[in-house]
């Protein structure tokens, strides 16, 4: 069905329950349908719901509509200024024709553990707007991702928008990903932010993806970096990363390889943060 308003979505979700799937960009959902991995009774196409695709400044930060396409995020001057991490991440998402359709809200709702935007949302402390017939609630990104393809979305709920808070002055960002082929899902990736003050790193945030069932924030490694002269702390942070990550092996790499690659990305990320413009 073609929804023309959120009320249409709520009504259809209420009527069909788990048998209904929301169709946003469709770049993960339609492959699953084509391969007959999913057989929902109803698809609710939200592409005709007005206002869901807007990208606007809000409280000094950003409010991004759930239907904003990856390509639009990559081109947006507002995103470049207020959430450069997202701009850095976009080229790593699949391929141009996929980015022309795929949406921010869809990527978060899909919650693929190797996807780029969920990690960005956590690193940027995004606030995810979730609506249902019961009203609207907002979920912090770190609490939104629950497990493998599992989110805080309850039955009947839909993501409507994502708020990205205003970046603190002097914030720098870095986005790194390793994949065997351009456009593949990541073997491993890192979304990082930090402030650089007098040559020291302050309040670093290191969110890895492709290392578990959901984005993983590396608290111990970040703690080892915090406040230190940049290059002195890298070895300690690499060591500490072993406390943060216990990546399960997969078809691409075993656990030890993934941890090694995470340490490589950590060091590259710190150098990128140190070298990057604010």
């Amino acid at each position: 069905m073609r929804a023309r308003a959120l009320d249409d979505v709520f009504a259809a979700l209420a009527a069909e329950g788990e048998e209904a799937k929301i169709l946003a960009g469709g770049q993960s959902l339609v492959p699953a349908l084509n391969m007959r991995l999913l057989e929902p009774r109803l698809l609710i196409d939200i592409n005709g719901v007005p206002g869901l695709g807007a990208i606007a400044e809000h409280d000094g930060g950003l409010r991004i509509g759930a239907l904003a396409r990856h390509a639009e995020l990559g081109r947006s001057p507002l995103v470049a200024r207020l959430a450069p991490l997202i701009r850095q991440a976009i080229p790593h998402i699949a391929h141009p024709a996929i980015r022309n359709r795929g949406t921010f809200g869809g990527s978060l709702a899909q919650a693929d553990p190797a996807a780029e935007l969920p990690a960005c949302a956590v690193a940027l402390d995004a606030l995810i707007h979730v609506a249902s017939v019961r009203g609207e609630r907002r979920v912090a990104a770190h609490a939104f991702f629950k497990g493998l393809y599992e989110t805080a979305l309850a039955p009947g709920e839909i993501i409507t928008a994502i708020d990205i808070p205003k970046p603190a002055p002097g914030t720098r960002t870095a986005f790194l990903e390793l994949a065997r082929r351009r456009g593949d899902y990541a073997m491993i990736g890192l979304a990082a932010t930090a402030r650089i003050e007098d040559g020291a790193m302050r309040a670093p945030r290191l969110v890895f993806f492709g290392v578990g069932v959901k984005p993983v924030e590396a608290m111990a490694a970040a703690g080892a970096l915090d406040g230190g002269a940049l290059r002195d702390r890298i070895a300690a942070a690499r060591e500490a990363l072993g406390e943060d990550l216990d990546p399960p092996g997969d078809l691409q790499a075993d656990s030890a390889t993934k941890l090694h690659l995470a340490r490589v990305l950590l060091a590259r990320g710190v150098h990128a943060l140190a070298a990057g413009a604010a």
Partner: protein, 163 residues
């Protein structure tokens, strides 16, 4: 999922009105309903790029869009791009450089390459490879394709007909 949906759209500039099964992918609609067989169904999960067409000016995977979603849309396929002459230089360069063998992937690659040259008039070879990374070709090894696209970028730049 079994119901039919009425859609009106333009395909290669012509108005089309059809009742389509809700489940029909755009690539199947183009090929089976409209007879536009230049668009190929390859992997059918968005990886190979053979079905790439233009919808409302943007390259998309026709295997990952339902025809029922395209009420009011403007669809352009390789047939339309060929007839309009928009990519005549790309097609000539592909021919000259032997940038195709079996041709299965070529329509999708031309649609993708046309978008690259529209958005980035002077792409480097790395830019071309990056942009075409979502289009598989099992014959050419890509080198000739990159050559052809690069040639056209230079020709268009020299002709001054790029913005």
């Amino acid at each position: 999922m079994s119901e039919a949906v009425d859609i009106r759209l333009t395909v290669n500039g012509e108005a089309v009105a059809r009742r389509v099964p809700a489940r029909q992918n755009l690539v199947d609609f183009l090929r089976e309903e409209l007879g536009l067989t230049g668009t190929r169904a390859g992997c059918e999960h968005g990886v190979c790029g053979a079905c790439t067409v233009r919808v409302d000016g943007a390259a998309v995977r026709a295997c990952l869009v339902f025809a029922a979603q395209l009420d009011g849309a403007r669809v352009e396929t390789i047939e339309g791009l060929s007839e309009s002459g928009e990519i005549v230089d790309l097609q000539a360069a592909f021919h000259a450089r032997n940038a195709l063998q079996c041709g299965f992937c070529t329509a999708g690659i031309l649609v993708a390459a046309a978008e690259l040259l529209r958005d980035m008039p002077r792409p480097s070879r790395a830019d071309i490879r990056d942009h075409l990374s979502g289009n598989y070709c099992r014959c050419t090894g890509y080198h000739a394709i990159v050559d052809a696209v690069e040639t056209v970028a230079r020709q268009r730049g020299a002709a001054g007909n790029t913005p």
